[in-house]
Structure formats: C-alpha cells, structure tokens
Symmetry: none
Subunit: 249 residues, 2 copies
DNA sequence: GAAATTCCTGCACAAAAACGCAGAAAGCAG
DNA sequence: CTGCTTTCTGCGTTTTTGTGCAGGAATTTC
C-alpha cells in the first residue's frame, strides 16, 4: 500500500468517525505503529487532523465540543454570502452543500425571500429552518459526524432525482489545473451529484483557498458557472479563472 | 476512549446539564475517580468549567442560577429518560420520534453505548450527533417548521423500509379509551409508520399527559409494548394501562 | 464532633511517542 | 545494468504520558 493511499485512507476514517486509534489503524493496514504515527504527524502538520495521545481527532471535533464563537475569516464569508444572495430569486429551487460559507449564506437570506432550499447539511438546515418564508427539504441518509452532512447512496440517489435552479458549493480547494478538489471521498460524491442536478453551479470560496488543491477531484472549472470570492472581480488572482471561462463575482 | 474525547464528553455534559458529579461520570465512562478529577482539573485550568467539591459546574451556571432550569417538568423527563436508556443495548437499531422527552433521552445516553439511531427530528439528531459512539441515520423529506421534524411520503416510505429493534415515541396524549392521540396529522402518519417498523414500541410520557386526549389517533394501547413515566410502576394512575396489557416502568 | 466523602500526593505500571539507526525500495545518472 | 542518492519502513531503546492505587489530609454532612 502506497503512502499517499494510506494517508488518504486514514483521513477518510477520521472524517467518518471523528477519531482514529493508531493501534487500530496499524492492525487494519498492517504496518507498524511507527508508520501510522508518522502519517498522523504529517497529516497533523498539514492541519488535516489533530494528533492526540493514542490516535487522532478530526478538526471539527473541537468545533463540535468546544464551541468556537470566533469563526475563521467571518467577514470575508459575509461578503461572499451577500454576493451569493443576489443570485437567488423568488420561487427558485436551491441546492446547497455544507460548510461555514454556506451557513453565512443561509444567515444572509432576506426575510421576504420565498424559495425552496434543499440540503443534507445539518447546520445549514438549522439556519434555513428559522427563516420565515423558505421551504426546507432535508436529504436523509447516514450522518458523517465530521462534516455534519448526510452521506451515502440514498442521499446521492435523492439528489439525482432533483433538478434545481441553482447550486451553491462551499469550496475546500480550487485551482486552475485541477478544478475543484476536496479531501473527503463521500462529500465529493455528494457534490458531484449536486452539480449534475443543477442548472447552474456557483462556487463560494474565500481567497485563501484559491490556487490550492486537495487529493480528490470534484469537477473541472468547465462544470462550474460562477466563482464567488470576497475579492473584487478584477483582482489579478482571479484572472486565470476568468480566462478559463468562469464568471467571477 | 481517548483522553480528549473523554474531556469533550464531560464538557458537553456540563454545558448540557449545568453540572456534573464526578462519581456519576466515573461510573458512566468507566474510569477511576482520579482520572475524572484530573480531567475536571484540566478543564478548570483552561477555564472551561468551574470545579467544585464533588464535581463541576458550567461557567454560565454561576452567573445566572435558575433552580428549575425554566422547564417545570425537566426533572420528570430526566427520570423518564433514565428508565428508557436501560432498554437500549449495544448494536441495536433505535427509531425515535421528536419532542423534548426524546431530547432528554438523547442527552442521557451513556457514552460507551454503540447503537444506530434513526430519526427525522432535527433537535434529536443534533443531540445524537454529539455522542461519540452512535451512528446516526437521518430520515429526509420536507421539514415541518413547527415540529422541526421531516414529514411527508418520502419520510414515511423510508421508515417503512426499516425494521428497528425498538422505537421510542414522545407522547402528546394517552388515554385508556382512545390510546395514543396527537394533534398534527403529518406527525401522526410518521409515528404510525414508526410503530409498524419496530419490533418493540415504547411510549415516553410525563404523568401530566396521562388520561388526556387529542383529536387524531396514533394507535391503540394494544400496539404499544411499554409505557414509561416518571411515576413508580405501582402508581394507581397507571393501573388501567397495566390492566390493558401494557408493560409499565 | 464524628462519619463519610472527596481531594491531594507520591508512586507504580502500562501504553504510546520520540529518537536514532539500518535495511529495503524507488528514482536517477552514467 | 551498476552505483549513487533519496525516501520509506521497521526495530530497539529511552522518554513521556496516562491511568489506577494507597495513604493521609481536607471537606461536607448529619
């Protein structure tokens, strides 16, 4: 088993169960504890997991249990959310993924908006639920504790039955060469299904994530219609994406 | 169980119930009292809890102390929840409705329990999600904003595909003549489906709701296996139900 | 004020981590 | 192919960490 392969597997396990035990992993993958430890160390250095005595925890673990009121780059996300809200009009069917940027979008929805929002993200659903006029459709399946989103074949099948007017994707990494990439296999499957089931695909991404890449590919730039960041549309960082045919806001 | 995980659980419990007793925690998590004490000490050093003789208090608890926690029947619900927890064992598939009693049940689940919980109730799902060892399956469909539960034919169809070991129903009204009754047509449909899909049906009800009725019928007493209230099993109020063949706890 | 908890300290033991090292595998130039 | 470097992996040893236990001190409770 290759090193990259092994680390991808570990990351997947962490994302799925919120924790891993080194002892368990080393018997599962059949390598020494040292190797596992080194892998965890590397993943921790990259900020993908949190290493603790005996194993590792997912990053969201701390957010779940130690409520973190200062959300990272909140202001940028608010800017992005406001730009995105402008794309939604009454009567639309809107499909959204999870992620903090999407939450910010949910919070920015004007109260008079009447639309239908569809998502499998629990935090997003919570926000939509408190909105006075929007209808909320929840995609059911097994919950991934890490991403707080429903994942699995049922969820994907349900999404594929839909045809939404617009789809908003929280983005983990985007880059001209690889397109949109992510690090959780199951989340990627969901995002792909969402893209297929939407007339229009909009990516929300803070500038920091632009020109970064993750191991698993979601889609190419040709499959997205619009990229929204907190930067002005003429920022040089965005030029390559405009050249690649993506609308930018 | 990892140290961080354990501390997270303790913190969650503190935030949930505003206090914890070390003696209770150590029997719940199955570690020595010393370990718990050391954990509490660490959490206190980080300012996350306030350590007191015999346990710890949440930070907000000290600022505003409401002896009854706002809800009058909270303690009753806790009693009910603790009785109900005893019916769940490792590996079970558990189907639950919504309601505050179910939330209390969710909060009382022992951390080492490994089971699969299935529900369409958003508040219940939120609680299940924080539990370290249980798997959570979310029933998807349109969200009913006032009951915060997914309702509709999709949800019902999904439930009918299941066969759960046990089903816990929060009860709105129960009475010997009409059985279990409710006032929301869509919620009733769901509860009926849940009853059909479970080997064992358990009703959770505070004594106050016993011998009351609502307009829509969920099921007769013959369809439920057990009724859990905060009363002792030999309370005269429960006698008619025992006579009707319902087990009582 | 006496009994019962709970707390603190030091200690022992086990599990896990860190470290250095050596062999294996892969990549590369000639 | 050969010889060289680089990377990866596993092994033994030493350190560190986490946990439980035993005692005596401190506290709550009645």
């Amino acid at each position: 088993m290759l090193k990259k392969e092994r680390q991808a597997y570990i990351l997947h396990q962490v994302n799925l169960h919120n924790k891993v035990l080194s002892s368990l992993l080393c018997s599962e993958i059949n390598v020494s504890e040292d190797t596992i430890r080194r892998d965890l160390q590397e993943l921790a250095d990259e900020g993908k997991v949190i290493k603790v005595h005996g194993g590792a925890l997912s990053h969201s673990f701390n957010q779940v249990y130690f409520p973190n009121n200062g959300v990272y780059s909140q202001n940028h996300k608010k800017t992005i959310a406001e730009k995105a809200v402008g794309l939604i009009s009454n009567g639309m069917f809107v499909l959204t993924s999870g992620g903090t940027t999407i939450i910010e979008l949910a919070r920015s929805l004007p109260p008079q908006l009447k639309a239908t929002f569809i998502s499998g993200s629990i935090p997003a659903i919570l926000e939509y639920m408190y909105h006075p006029n929007i209808e909320v459709i929840l995609i059911g399946d097994k919950i991934s504790k890490n991403s707080k989103i429903t994942v699995g074949s049922e969820a994907i099948a349900k999404i594929k039955q839909l045809k939404a007017d617009i789809c908003f994707l929280g983005t983990n990494a985007i880059d001209v060469e690889h397109g949109i990439t992510d690090n959780d296999w199951e989340v990627v499957q969901l995002k792909r299904a969402m893209i297929e089931s939407s007339k229009k695909v909009v990516c929300l991404s803070i500038a920091e994530k632009i020109n970064s890449a993750q191991p698993i590919r979601v889609c190419g730039l040709d499959e997205i219609d619009m990229l929204i960041t907190e930067l002005p549309a003429n920022d040089p960082l965005l030029k390559p994406y405009i050249d690649a045919g993506v609308r930018v806001a």
